[in-house]
C-alpha cells in the first residue's frame, strides 16, 4: 500500500520533511528576532517607531501569506533582482526568499504575542525601574521582556505551529519541501487520499511534540503573581 513511497529518493519523504524543518527553524529564529524588535518599537516612547511598528503589523498580518511568498519570487527576485547571495543557485535562492517571506509574515504575529506579554507586566515595575534611572532599553531588556517572554510561551507555541504548517506555502515558489513532494506524488500516483494522509501525519509528527513540550515549558516558567 505504501510501496510507492520507495519511488522517491531525491528528495525522499524524510528529505522533504527535513527541508520543512529547516524552513521552520530559520523562519522561527528570524521572526522571533524581528518580532521582538517590532514589539519594542510598538511600546517605545518614540512616536515614529510606534507608528512604524503599528503600521507594519496591521499591514503585513492582513496580507495573505501566499501573496507575500509569491511577491518575494515575482516581485523581489524577478523585478528588483534580489538574489539573496545566490544568483546562480535556484535552490538556495528560493529557499532564502521563502524564509524572508515567512519571517516578514510571522514576525507580525510574534510581535503581537510579545506585546500582550509586555502588557501582563505590572506598569509599576517599569515605573520603578525608570525611577532607579534605567534607560528605556534597559527597562525593556532587564525588567519587562524577561517576564513578558515567560508569560507568552503558550501563544508563541501557537505561532510556531502555525509557522510549521505555513511553510507549505513555500512550494508555490518551488522550494522542495513536503508540500511540493506531495504535489509530485499526486501527479504521478493517482492516490490522492492516501498521499494526503501520509503528509498530514508527517505534520502531526512535527507539531504535536512541539506543542506538548512548549505547553509544559510555559506552565513551568509561568510568572506566578
Amino acid at each position: 500500500m505504501f510501496d510507492f513511497l520507495s519511488n522517491y529518493d531525491d528528495p525522499s519523504l524524510l528529505g522533504a520533511f527535513w527541508v520543512t524543518v529547516q524552513l521552520t527553524v530559520f523562519s522561527a529564529v528570524g521572526s522571533l528576532i524581528w518580532g521582538t524588535l517590532l514589539a519594542a518599537m510598538r511600546v517605545s516612547p518614540v512616536p515614529l517607531m510606534r507608528g512604524f511598528g503599528t503600521a507594519y503589523v496591521n499591514i503585513v498580518r492582513n496580507i495573505p501569506l501566499t501573496v507575500i511568498i509569491v511577491f518575494t519570487s515575482l516581485g523581489l527576485a524577478d523585478i528588483f533582482g534580489v538574489t539573496m547571495g545566490a544568483p546562480d543557485n535556484f535552490e538556495t535562492k528560493y529557499f532564502r526568499l521563502a524564509v524572508l517571506g515567512l519571517v516578514a509574515y510571522t514576525a507580525a504575529f510574534v510581535c503581537e504575542a510579545i506585546r500582550s506579554g509586555i502588557n501582563t507586566v505590572p506598569v509599576g515595575q517599569a515605573e520603578a525601574a525608570r525611577a532607579l534611572g534605567l534607560s528605556f532599553s534597559q527597562v525593556l531588556r532587564l525588567v519587562v521582556l524577561p517576564q513578558a517572554f515567560r508569560s507568552v510561551i503558550g501563544p508563541l507555541a501557537n505561532v510556531l505551529i502555525a509557522l510549521t504548517k505555513n511553510t507549505t506555502v513555500a512550494a508555490t515558489i518551488g522550494v522542495a519541501e513536503a508540500a511540493l513532494l506531495m504535489k509530485e506524488m499526486i501527479e504521478n500516483e493517482a492516490q490522492t487520499l492516501l498521499i494526503g494522509a501520509v503528509f498530514a501525519f508527517g505534520f502531526v509528527v512535527l507539531t504535536l511534540p512541539t506543542g506538548l513540550f512548549l505547553n509544559w515549558l510555559s506552565k513551568r516558567l509561568a510568572v506566578k503573581r
Binding site: D10, V70, S73, L74, A77, D78, I79, D88, N89, F90, E91, Y94, A171, T172, I173, G174, A176, L180, L181, M182, K183, E184, I186, E187, N188, E189, A190, T192
Partner: protein, 280 residues
C-alpha cells in the same frame, strides 16, 4: 414534554432532508450515466491552459481539448449547449471520474500505467512531447546543453520531475505556481527556458500578447499520450469515444482544430495517433 416534541419535529425534518438529498443525488447520477438524448453531459477540462482548455473572460471556453470534447459529445448525442464544462485540476481528475462528477475528462490527461489502474482511457487523441519554450532569438537547440541553463516549470508537474531526474539534473530549475509566472520570468530574462508539453507551450506562444516573442526549441524530450478519461469499467463509453475520435480524424476536423489552436509558434504537430496506440 415540549422538548420531546421539538426533538421529534427536528428529527423528522432531518430525516426528510437526508432522504431528499439522497433522491437528488440519485437523479443527477442517473442523468449522468444515461448516454445520448439526455439533458446534460458534464465534461472535465482545464480552465487555465491557452490552446488546450481555457475559460475566456466572457465565460466561453476555447482550446484543443475543448474542441475534441465538443466533437465527442456531439457523437454521443449532445449538442454544444448541452455540455456543462467542469474544471478538473490535475490532482482532481481520478476522483472526479470515480465520484461521477464528470462523464469525460479531456484535460491534458496523459495516459500512464498508474492512472490506468484508477480510470479507463479512450484515445489517445494527441501525441505531445516535452519541449522548451525559449526567447525568439535563443540558440538552444539540443537537449545536451541544458545542464548549465535556467529552466522554469510548474510545481510538482511531470515535466519538472523529468528535468530533475532525467535530462538535466544539474540545471537550475525554478518551480512556480503556473505557466504564466514562468512566462514572466522568461520575458525578463530570469530563466532561459520554460519547459512542459509542446502543445501547452504552443498555446501560450500563440496568445496575442506573446506573438513573435517566443519559439519552441523543437526537442522531443518525452512522449505524452493525451487520452480521454472515463470512469473505470465503463467500456461502452470508451468504445463510443474511440469511434468519435476516429471519425474526427477521418473527416478532417482534428487537423483543423490542431491548426486553429496551435497555429503560430513553430509547432509541428505529430500526425493523429491511432486509437489504443501508446507511444512510450
Amino acid at each position: 414534554m415540549k422538548l420531546r416534541k421539538v426533538t421529534a419535529a427536528s428529527a423528522a425534518v432531518f430525516a426528510l432532508a437526508l432522504t431528499a438529498t439522497a433522491c437528488g443525488g440519485g437523479d443527477s447520477g442517473d442523468s449522468g450515466s444515461s448516454s445520448g438524448g439526455g439533458d446534460k453531459i458534464k465534461i472535465g477540462i482545464k480552465y487555465d491552459q491557452p490552446g488546450l482548455g481555457l475559460k475566456e473572460p466572457d465565460g466561453s471556453f476555447s482550446g484543443f481539448d475543448v474542441d475534441v470534447a465538443t466533437y465527442v459529445a456531439k457523437e454521443l448525442g449532445y449538442e454544444p449547449n448541452q455540455i456543462e464544462w467542469v474544471e478538473t485540476k490535475s490532482a482532481d481528475r481520478e476522483n472526479a471520474l470515480s465520484r461521477g462528477d464528470v462523464k469525460l475528462i479531456a484535460a491534458t490527461y496523459s495516459i500512464t500505467d498508474e492512472r490506468k489502474e484508477k480510470v479507463d482511457f479512450a484515445g489517445p487523441y494527441l501525441l505531445a512531447h516535452q519541449d522548451l519554450l525559449v526567447a525568439a532569438d535563443s540558440d538552444i537547440s539540443e537537449a545536451t546543453d541544458l545542464n548549465d541553463k535556467k529552466l522554469c516549470s510548474v510545481t510538482g508537474s511531470t515535466s519538472a520531475q523529468n528535468v530533475k531526474e532525467d535530462f538535466a539534473p544539474d540545471a537550475q530549475l525554478s518551480q512556480r505556481g503556473g505557466y504564466s509566472e514562468c512566462l514572466s520570468a522568461l520575458q525578463n530574462g530570469q530563466v532561459d527556458a520554460l519547459t512542459t508539453d509542446d502543445s501547452i507551450l504552443a498555446g501560450y506562444a500563440a496568445q496575442d500578447q506573446y506573438k513573435g516573442k517566443f519559439k519552441l526549441a523543437g526537442l522531443k524530450l518525452s512522449n505524452e499520450n493525451y487520452g480521454v478519461g472515463v470512469k473505470k469499467g465503463d467500456t461502452e463509453t470508451v468504445n463510443k469515444v474511440n469511434d468519435a475520435l476516429e471519425k474526427m480524424v477521418s473527416d478532417g476536423s482534428w487537423q483543423k482544430a490542431v491548426e486553429e489552436n496551435f497555429g503560430p509558434a513553430n509547432y509541428k504537430n505529430e500526425p493523429a495517433p491511432k486509437i489504443g496506440q501508446i507511444v512510450q
